[in-house]
Amino acid sequence: MNANLMGIPALARHASRRVAVRRRAGFAILALVAVFALAGPFAIGIDPARQTLADTLMPPGAAHWLGTDLFGRSVLARLAHAARLSLGLACVAALSAAVPGVLLGVLANWRGGRVERALVMLADAVLSVPGLLLVLLFAALAPGRYWALYIGLSLSLWVEYFRVARVASRPVLAGDAVQASRLLGFGAAYILRRHLVPALAPVLGTLLAFSTAQAVLALAALGFIGVGLQSPTPELGLMMIEFLPHYEEAPWLIAAPVSLLMLLVLGMMLLVAEEDAP
């Protein structure tokens, strides 16, 4: 995560101040959600599965900050666990999509010719299926299992890294600095470490945050229509569909997972904010 924090200002150098501020705000929001997901379950310390059937649908109070659901479970605890689950799964999927994606993207430029054409074809092949459909297919392979969702997510995410790495590494590899390094006899590992990583880090940092948020959204959408993770796992989409019937008597319930998801989307949109012509 350190690389990301350093990467954003570097990226913003070319953008205006306003866009830089927006990107920083987006990153702050995403970081806030991440902290809630990481520290929340420990700080709250309530078992998200513990039912107290005497206290169902309690309004927000001192004991349960966000109230309780139909089974008297603490909504805040469930929200924190759901955030940890979604963000954790999404983060792992994004990371394991990023490594092969970036390496293959660089490899395509490095070797060029037949290798590049073959890799582009491979990326095109994966692009023939829209991302959510791919995740859905893998989710159907083993309903309610983490690994199926994880494979589907990483498989649909790696193409974006491949494309970005391929486009971004082209000018670097063709540049004078890399040519000089090669002439001096430095190997591939050195060029990768000293030339490509610094050049790609800012773009990839943004992309990593973006695709993590995208994966969280996909998980929530699948949970919401009932083909993702299964109840009683605390998951954002599942929580929303569980709380939806109570939207009139207990609107704070549905508001909790919805606001968390909206914060995530807002952070994502601010992060990839583009220069708006005035």
Binding site: A140, L141, A220, I225, V227, M262
Partner: protein, 329 residues
């Protein structure tokens, strides 16, 4: 990619073959990918496959181990996995999608029926997106900073920040439940298409308006547009003759990006509104572990997606002569 022919017609032909080849390859990849996943899905189904097929043929009362073994030998179910996988791929290549495990009808017949509903929904939401997004985008691009521009920006950001499944529920609760104006879900009444189409269309319109605005601004700031004004064309003439076509290229290309949004949205929105399309069928096939239906609907959705992209490619090629002559990559 290295287009060495200076002949313009030759270059055009090469560009067209390139597009067609790429999309054809995607169709093949789609079949392989979806086929493989569904093959393993079928293998993971509980129970013995030979017994299940024998029960389907002779009825559950008449099935014994001998009948199951006979079916196993006849269909080659005891062969190694890779051979069975090849056979599975062969069936897809012959467009043999099998029959639904739930309804017993041929999969292609069901899918063809559902495709109509999905196309209705897609066309309706595209119409909403185009009628709302394009004029707002063009106006905002020509009058940046005006109140329409600011309003469009604000609502576009708001709409993009709401995932389509939340927008669907929001519309259901506001329009259908509170106002009682339209049916909540299903396909019984004339107005039932409106809510799912609005859900998808509003999200599309938001993106379309922003991209159109940027493209229009760029076109209006370009030297060719300025020259058209200088040579005495009115604002309207310059816009229609020189501005729109130039601005159209990025907008049409953006529609290709939006195809993902449309297909993914169709799965979610159709399920929520119980709209009897392919996405709804896919999700219900997943619930019912109906592997032939999962495969058929996924193949069909992927096919629609690739075809849509092909059309967008073709439209870009027709709009932008630079792509035809191969002067840009």
């Amino acid at each position: 990619m290295n287009n060495l022919t200076n002949d313009k017609a030759g270059a055009t032909a090469t560009a067209w073959t390139g597009i067609l080849l790429r999309r054809c390859m995607q169709i093949v990849a789609l079949g392989l990918l979806v086929g493989t996943v569904c093959f393993f899905m079928a293998r993971f189904l509980p129970g013995d496959m030979a017994t299940r097929i024998a029960a389907g043929r002779y009825g559950y009362d008449l099935v014994n181990n001998a009948a199951a073994d006979a079916v196993r030998a006849e269909l080659g179910l005891d062969r190694p996995t890779w051979l069975a996988l090849l056979q599975w791929w062969g069936q897809i290549a012959r467009f043999d999608l099998g029959t639904s495990l739930v309804t017993g009808n041929a999969v292609w017949r069901e899918v063809a029926h559902q495709l109509g509903a999905t196309v209705d929904l897609a066309v309706a939401s595209m119409l909403i997106a185009v009628t709302a997004g394009l004029p707002l985008g063009i106006w905002s691009g020509l009058h940046p900073g005006g109140w329409i521009d600011r309003l469009t920006l604000a609502s576009a950001v708001l709409l993009r920040a709401i995932p389509s499944f939340l927008l669907a529920v929001l519309l259901m609760v506001l329009v259908a439940v509170q106002l009682g104006a339209l049916p909540v879900a299903g396909d019984d009444h004339a107005g039932s298409l409106l809510l799912p189409a609005l859900t998808l269309g509003l999200g599309l319109a938001a993106g379309l308006a922003r991209v159109t605005r940027a493209a229009m601004r760029e076109a209006a700031a370009s030297p060719s547009f300025e020259f058209a004004r200088t040579k005495g064309l009115s604002d309207r003439q310059a816009l229609v003759r020189h501005g729109l076509r130039q601005a159209a290229t990025p907008v049409v290309a953006y529609l290709g990006v939006q195809a993902v949004f449309l297909v993914e949205g169709a799965v979610v929105v159709e399920t929520l509104f119980a709209w009897p399309g392919i996405g709804h069928a896919l999700v219900h096939a997943v619930f019912g572990r109906d592997v032939p239906m999962i495969q058929g609907t996924a193949l069909c959705m992927g096919g629609v997606f690739v075809t849509f992209n092909l059309l967008v490619d073709a439209a870009c090629l027709a709009l932008d002569p630079r792509r035809r002559t191969g002067s840009t990559a």
